[in-house]
Symmetry: C2
Subunit: 238 residues, 2 copies
């Protein structure tokens, strides 16, 4: 009987191809099978990040997600991808799933992880997350000393967002997209807009944009954007 | 007049030397001057992470911090290090400060950053943080979907810790050290101890330890340890 392959969740970093780790790069090149998330049509961001590092000749599995936010089509897409990966793993072939940022920090990898962890060896390689990338390109510490840092997905209810932001020392607001206008209204009510900065596609070269929150067009906010808030100000001198 | 050098804050990752990024490795090797934090006596963790990658022949600045938690000796240590680095930068030599994990995620780099950013070019290279490393070695997603993730330094007041943990979907509690007993008492009161796991020196080879919170000896908890709490349970199937 063939020993099963290992499923790797590879954090490939926030966008700059140079922000991949040595470990993820080694496994990326060594695995005979790669899988990557992508929209229903068009290129995969995760694959584009590592494209320059690919040796060629690997089997690739595209996990294409329909735009619809309904759960059931998404479940089917992950079920199908899991079946295809299971075929390779059962035959002894390692499979690497490419994950933007870090696999376990709000990543869709967990849906595959949940389907595979009881059946095959799984190994997760942590990556540089977009949150740390945003902080670096903003030239501003994310959290310091005994700051409480709150990480808030923008789709949560407005009341909860407001309550969390009212008490946080520092906050990162993720997954902005069509929720930007709601988030900005909350920041305005709390008097925090001046302490907040908006970053789009951090470390992605010429696609990166940094703006004051007041200058952002709410109709043109991509999913890969983030707001960092330093509620206590720039208190980074000892 | 010589153009000034650049001060780099290099995230070197959580401990495994293979979890450094290609970018940090390139700059680490290219900078003529390295600076690294260390205790008053003994080796530097940040330097030990990158030791195998060093080409030799670089000037090194040790930033040795006394055990005392008093502010004024610490200020003097950073002032002296900043002066020494300023000498190199003014002479056109780039200086790389080695930072465990990510430079701007609770890192001491910010104290040097605050002293230098108005005088010299500064560039921060984000790194894999210990929080992502702990999540990876625990084989458990840190935050999923619309979870609110709260990052709590253990030294904060017990009341504040309890209020934050009572409402978080997921939490990371950092800088445990001598604050472990207080943290465990709060987790016990909230009924969260069974949903919390303790990790020591994640990705640091044989030094890594993973324990249920109940099994930890509060007298033997190092600074480089963390508790991750999944208050809503392991809800990582779609």
């Amino acid at each position: 009987m063939t020993a099963p392959g290992t499923l790797y969740g590879l954090g490939v970093g926030p966008g700059d191809p140079e922000l991949i780790t040595l470990k993820a790069l080694r496994l990326l090149r060594a695995c005979p099978v790669l899988a990557w998330p992508a929209p229903e049509e068009g290129p995969s961001l995760a694959r584009s990040i590592v494209e320059e590092h690919l040796p060629g000749g690997q089997t690739e599995i595209a996990i294409r997600m329909p735009m619809s936010v309904a759960r059931f089509p998404a479940q089917e897409v992950y079920d199908r991808a899991a079946d295809e990966m299971a075929g390779h793993l059962s035959a002894g072939r390692d499979v690497a799933v490419l994950c933007e940022g870090d696999p376990f920090f709000y990543g869709s990898f967990m849906y595959l992880f949940g389907r595979m962890v009881d059946r095959f060896p799984v190994h997760v390689v942590p990556g540089v997350s977009s949150m740390m990338a945003c902080s670096a390109v903003l030239d501003a510490p994310l959290a310091a000393r005994n700051d409480v840092l709150t990480v808030l997905p923008a789709p949560i209810e407005e009341n909860r967002l407001e309550a969390a932001l009212a008490t946080a020392d520092a906050a990162a607001i993720l997954k902005l997209g069509r929720h930007f206008a709601k988030v900005r209204a909350v920041l305005d009510r709390l008097g925090l807009a001046g302490r907040a900065r908006y970053v789009e596609r951090a470390t992605m070269g010429e696609q990166q944009r940094i703006l004051p929150v007041a200058a952002v067009d709410p109709e043109a906010v991509p999913y890969f954007s983030m707001i960092l808030v330093h509620a206590r100000g720039a208190a980074w001198t000892l």
